[in-house]
């Protein structure tokens, strides 16, 4: 670039570039950047749309942390959900990915079947599962439970079973997505490793434990992080499966209240925008910390 030209001249020469990025930058500023910053400030105010926001300092956070048992309930439920969905979901999708990665017939057919929920709306498959879980004995799952000799469970109305039901739906819905990431990871492992192991006479289990798992670790960590982030944000499944069963957004006795469903209730049913923004930022902080922990601690401990 010509250094003799002034800053403004150069800016003028680059006008096309600015023109090209303008739509994206403008839309991004209005609908992502400004909201993210505004949300932060809103979390220090009391605001209900009707009257102007009123600065209350840390009051929203103090209320949430020290005087709001429902927030803790939501946090606890979400924690249980994450601890259930992430390990089970990843283990199952790893098994499926390894199975599909073998030399098998109908490979693409299996891939397609497992991938179906990824292109299905979460609302749609939650609605289907709500019917599968239906309380009466003509519900399919309870019918099978009876056939297996177990007693039927009122999945949606029983405070002990609603959260596991939601976890089952989420694990089912997430399998295909995790499987595809893991499959992509598996395909980067050179086949020479397995050939060498074959010569040494290693069995399938040894190969999985000593070759596949260590070499897949970066992908596994990535999948785990994505899975944790998505699980902390669970909402649609809760919204659909608890519809009409409880007073608030969390089903019977808040038994399935999660952080985001609580945020939704606070923000868009009670219009406490300040408190809802505070919850949003707490969620942001949790996700940020968990991701940071995963990246720093888990990754640095196992380098290959």
């Amino acid at each position: 670039m010509d250094s003799k030209k002034s800053f403004w001249q150069r800016l003028f020469e680059q006008r096309y570039a600015y023109l090209f990025i303008a739509p994206v930058v403008i839309l991004f500023s209005i609908f992502v950047l400004i909201p993210a910053v505004a949300s932060f400030f809103l979390s220090f105010t009391k605001y209900n749309v009707i009257s102007a926001p009123q600065w209350v300092g840390l009051e929203n956070y103090r209320q949430i942390f020290f005087h709001d048992p429902r927030f803790w309930k939501a946090l606890r439920n979400t924690g249980i959900y994450v601890l259930g969905v992430v390990p089970v979901g990843i283990s199952l999708s790893l098994l499926i990915a390894v199975a599909i990665n073998q030399k098998i017939r109908f490979k693409n057919f299996y891939k397609m079947i497992f991938f179906m929920p990824v292109v299905t709306s979460v609302v749609a498959y939650s609605v289907i599962w709500r019917w599968l879980f239906a309380g009466e004995k003509y519900g399919l799952i309870n019918h099978w439970l009876i056939k297996l000799g177990a007693s039927p469970v009122d999945w949606l109305m029983n405070p002990h079973w609603i959260l596991p039901a939601i976890m089952i739906v989420s694990i089912w819905g997430g399998l295909g997505y995790n499987m595809f990431l893991l499959l992509a990871g598996l395909q980067t492992i050179p086949s020479t490793f397995y050939e060498a192991a074959d010569i040494d006479g290693a069995g399938g289990w040894h190969k999985f434990w000593n070759i596949t798992l260590p070499l897949l670790r970066p992908t596994l960590i990535f999948v785990a992080i994505m899975s944790v982030i998505n699980s902390f944000q669970v909402f649609e499944q809760v919204y659909i499966l608890t519809a009409g069963t409880g007073e608030g957004a969390g089903g019977v006795l808040d038994s399935a209240l999660t952080i985001v469903s609580y945020l939704y209730e606070k923000g868009f049913q009670r219009f406490e925008f300040g408190a809802a923004s505070a919850i949003a930022y707490i969620l942001f902080a949790i996700i940020f910390l968990v991701t940071w922990f995963n990246l720093k601690v888990v990754r640095s401990r196992f380098e290959y």
Partner: protein, 268 residues
């Protein structure tokens, strides 16, 4: 053994869909019959007729189709244009702006919901197509994908066109666009999918009858006609089946590799 495991898994995946379709063509006596059966003795389209007469379901499906198509087309245009500038132009603040865009990935979408709602409300866009379309017109992921793809195009091609007197926009149209078709196809597929399946944002900005999108309609069906399972399953079928049929044909979807996390994110 592998086949047994995979087949069991595939059955677990497929049964909810099969059950959805089977239930949607059952008369009410068979829906509540015991034991439940996958066989339908008297198939009927009554649940579908009920669905389309009780709710303006056709309108809802068209709403979703319109929103998803508009958002997809605009994203392809805006994202490829910006991606081209970020990949091949040198301008003041380029890397800083790009980094700012990327850093937004870290922010969970819930953080933007409330101010987004307030902005849309103040613009007077609640319950309108504007609210559904405008905030989604240019997704950062699309820019990122296009930029990565355009970076691999040799600069010589662009320089040659410049020497031949091609305008900046001409270069974009004649050289860049045809070369990034695979990336655009992938972007089109999952922008469309994410919009068709989008739920939380429409739930917040839409609350009148005619403007609902297909997933919102399903949610309303679920909460108000939740016990008429045949009709709810008919609703789930009309929302789910077209997408499954249309989107399993193109192979691009299998080649997205590590971009899958975006599908999940954009589904909101």
């Amino acid at each position: 053994m592998i086949y047994a495991f995979l087949t069991l898994g595939a059955l677990t995946m497929a049964i909810p869909y099969v059950w959805m379709i089977v239930t949607s063509i059952k008369p009410i006596e068979e829906v509540q019959a015991y034991p439940p059966s996958f066989l339908v003795h008297h198939p009927t389209i009554a649940p579908y007729r009920e669905l389309f007469s009780l709710l303006p379901m056709l309108r809802y499906l068209l709403n979703s189709l319109f929103v998803a198509s508009t958002v997809t087309i605009c994203n392809l245009f805006f994202c490829s244009l910006a991606g081209y500038a970020f990949a091949k132009h040198r301008f003041w603040g380029r890397d800083k702006i790009f980094l700012l865009l990327l850093s937004a990935i870290m922010i969970p979408y819930q953080v933007n919901l409330i101010p987004g709602f307030i902005i849309v409300k103040n613009l007077g866009w609640l319950n309108s197509f504007y609210a559904l379309i405008v905030p989604n017109l240019a997704m950062v992921f699309g820019v990122f994908l296009c930029r990565q793809y355009i970076m691999s195009i040799p600069n010589d091609l662009i320089d040659m066109a410049k020497i031949d007197g091609c305008s900046e926009f001409g270069i974009y149209r004649v050289i860049i666009l045809p070369l990034i078709k695979p990336a655009l196809a992938a972007l089109a597929i999952f922008t469309f999918l994410s919009q068709w399946n989008s739920f939380v944002w429409p739930l917040i900005v839409i609350n009148t009858g005619n403007m609902r999108t297909a997933p919102l309609a399903l949610s309303v069906l679920n909460s108000t006609f939740g016990l008429d399972f045949a009709m709810v399953m008919a609703g789930a079928t009309v929302v789910t089946l077209p997408v499954l049929i249309v989107f399993f044909i193109p192979a691009e979807i299998y080649h997205l590799g590590h971009h899958y996390d975006w599908i999940e994110r954009m589904k909101r």
